[in-house]
Symmetry: C2
Subunit: 204 residues, 2 copies
């Protein structure tokens, strides 16, 4: 069995990465997310290590200090931590599962360092005008805040040469965008590093 | 407009590369073959530089000597030359067309040298047994000739590490195989070298 492949989908705020990755995972059961860790209470439908890894606030914060997370954040709604532990991604890959990580740009660069074989896909809005209008659409109309978001987006977009692929998320075409990313996933699976065993087993 | 991308589909005899590339070009009009050169007489439906480049035997043989062909052969049926001139591929690429070249393994290695950005895809039968039976199926039952073909196939398969992708042509699944190659084509179009202009035109 081959190693799983890690796909990192990233992009500036307003690129729609969350929506696209959700559509992709819904359409294709052969790609999934890694299991996250959280401090929230388990529910009846939860299963440790399947829906989430559950832990205490203290333990989570210790893991943050130890650099065990590829990314983490506190969810506004319930003030609980959610994060992607490195060990969880490693476990999925060693089980041969192809994993998608949807993550902001700085986090993506960090993942690339820790997983050199990861495939990095940058998602962008179709153009600068649409990016600006999507940033404006996010609640606040504070011009200073919007200018700051734009500055962040500029810096993030400037990192595109460190990515392997760039995909445009056109207006109203989430499924098409997800399918294009799925093409990249299908293609990467055919790379020689993963298909080498086919030839090795040819036995001529 | 971006440069076209050159895809080289290759593989040992019995890999089914001709059938698969035909199915691919039939299903997807956004990938095509380059215009070949031939010594056969033009027919009423032919158009110079569109269906073929037509030339004389002398000129064709001069071009062979000058190394102007990426590959060429003499077709048994009419004893005429057919070849892929380098200039024809260059023309298509400069017009932004994505081109597929279906070519035997040594020719593919030569193309990779002349077009370093070419994407090389090796097509194989599912396993050694099926390769052997496909080689046997090709007319002659001369055991010596079959052994020779097998030796050639072995040497060709051994070159797989020089390829970018490996795709298995499963029995009776030509269309699926063509679609998998089309995924590779779609993916390669999203590579940063080709999508860079999107970011350059962002104008934030």
């Amino acid at each position: 069995m081959r190693q799983g492949i890690l796909f990192v989908v990233s992009g500036p705020a307003g690129s729609g990465k969350g929506t696209v990755v959700e559509a992709l995972c819904k359409a294709h059961s052969d790609v999934g997310l890694s299991v996250s860790m959280t401090t929230r209470q388990p529910r009846a439908t939860d299963a440790e290590g399947v829906t989430y890894y559950f832990t205490t606030r203290d333990d989570f914060e210790n893991r943050i200090k130890n650099g065990e997370f590829l990314e983490y954040n506190i969810f506004d709604g319930n003030n609980e931590y959610y994060g992607t532990p490195k060990f969880s991604v490693e476990k999925s890959l060693s089980e041969g599962k192809d994993i998608i990580l949807e993550i902001e740009v700085n986090g993506a660069m960090n993942v690339k360092k820790q997983f050199p074989n990861a495939v990095a896909i940058m998602l962008t809005p179709p153009n600068g005008e649409i990016l600006k209008s999507r940033l404006r659409g996010r609640g606040s109309e504070d011009e200073h805040e919007i200018a700051e978001r734009l500055e962040t987006a500029k810096k993030e977009l400037a990192l595109f040469p460190k990515y392997d692929y760039l995909v445009v998320n056109e207006e109203g075409k989430v499924d098409e965008c997800a399918e294009l990313i799925y093409s990249i996933i299908r293609a990467e699976r055919q790379r020689i590093i993963y298909t080498k065993p086919i030839i090795d087993n040819f036995n001529l």
